[in-house]
Amino acid sequence: MTALLLLAMAPVAMWLVQSALLAANGLPVRWRLDAGDAPAGVRTGGRIATQVILLGILIGYPLLRGRSPVEYYGSLLPTAEIGDFSIGAAAASLFLCVLFLAWIAADLLRVEVHHSRRKWIRRLALLPATALFGAFVEEFLFRGVVMADVMGSPTLSRGGPWIAIAVSTLVFTGAHYVRAVKRYWTLFGHLALGILLSVAFLRTRSLWLPAGLHAGGILLIMGVRPFVRYRGPAWLVGASIFPFAGVAGIVGLSIMTAYVWTHR
């Protein structure tokens, strides 16, 4: 329960920071976490605050359990299982390549460069670091902290692994919608992805496989993003950075989940 309490405090802290930044800029307080049209200082300040709060949770949770963060996360990344990272990254890449190829062939995805050369080169150069950072931070948080906490809770673990999968998935999904976002229909895609990553952690008891799946997904999605436009229908192919949120993506994630469940 420690993890859930810590995580529940995150949006409150983010909202307080946002309110303080808005007030400092002479703007009215907003009830939602939404700085989309606010001055750059509010947006940047909000982003920095979010990272600091998440870092605080990642460091604070093991300390509250009486363990050092290095030792705690190290125990979730056993060296013997490191190969699972490349398996996860390869599986996610293969899955997304198949989707993208099918959609390009069907003209549901059109190849069009829509960033300046400088911008897309910079993005691609930073992509491996972005993918690794995003994947490991989220896996540490949602599987390493939240799910491990539920699995270790005498009360919650009594309901079997389903409780841990459900809680981890719901927290993971909810976290992507705490701030105001453009699209809410992508929620089912996040649920399917959350289940896959949670099952990967449950079956391997290590973060390598979920981190590999997550990093491979970010790498492909963000790598392709500057060069394509989705032509829909969105319910089938997804949109923007959510190719996994269309029906085809959700079916693919479900097949991968079933595979991980039966073969690991």
Binding site: G83, I87, S93, C97, A105, R110, H114, L220
Partner: protein, 154 residues
């Protein structure tokens, strides 16, 4: 500035869609100078979707293209909702202008059709080239991923 003004940005009078061929820029700039539109907002071809959205929203009174082929390219790529800019009951009534001198006057339909056909063929060949490049890269990534899976699992 009041909140009302911030919520309701001033209507920029003219949008300029920069030409796909750089040698047409001089013609375009000369035309803009003639019309007194040198301060008009410029859009690169990669921002066709944004230009289309803003034209549909009625943020511009006029849009200028160097040649009709640039407007056609927007239509082929799905970003040229000309009906919503220009004609129809709910259209934004945007004036569509071309900087090249060979537009207007009596309609020469065979010549128009030849231009449309040429424009579509050029656009289609570019689209196919980009598809082939993207398809080859994605296939290569998929094969590498498959090799990693087989190698690691084997």
């Amino acid at each position: 500035m009041s909140d009302a003004k911030r919520d309701d940005p001033p209507r920029e009078p003219v949008a300029v869609r920069l030409p796909t061929q750089s040698q047409l820029i001089d013609i375009l700039e000369k035309y803009l100078a003639t019309r007194g539109w040198t301060a008009a907002e410029r859009f690169l071809p990669k921002d066709d979707d944004e230009l289309n959205d803003r034209l549909c929203r009625g943020e511009f009174a006029a849009v200028v293209f160097a040649v009709p082929e640039d407007a056609m390219r927007m239509i082929w790529s799905g970003h040229g909702s000309v009906g919503r800019w220009h004609a129809g009951e709910n259209a934004a009534k945007v004036e569509i202008c071309f900087a090249s001198g060979d537009v207007g006057g009596e309609v020469d339909w065979p010549e128009h059709l030849r231009r449309i056909e040429r424009s579509f063929a050029e656009w289609e060949s570019g689209r196919r080239r980009r598809q082939v490049i993207a398809g080859s890269i994605l296939t290569a990534v998929a094969l590498v991923a498959m090799a990693v899976l087989l190698w690691t699992r084997g």
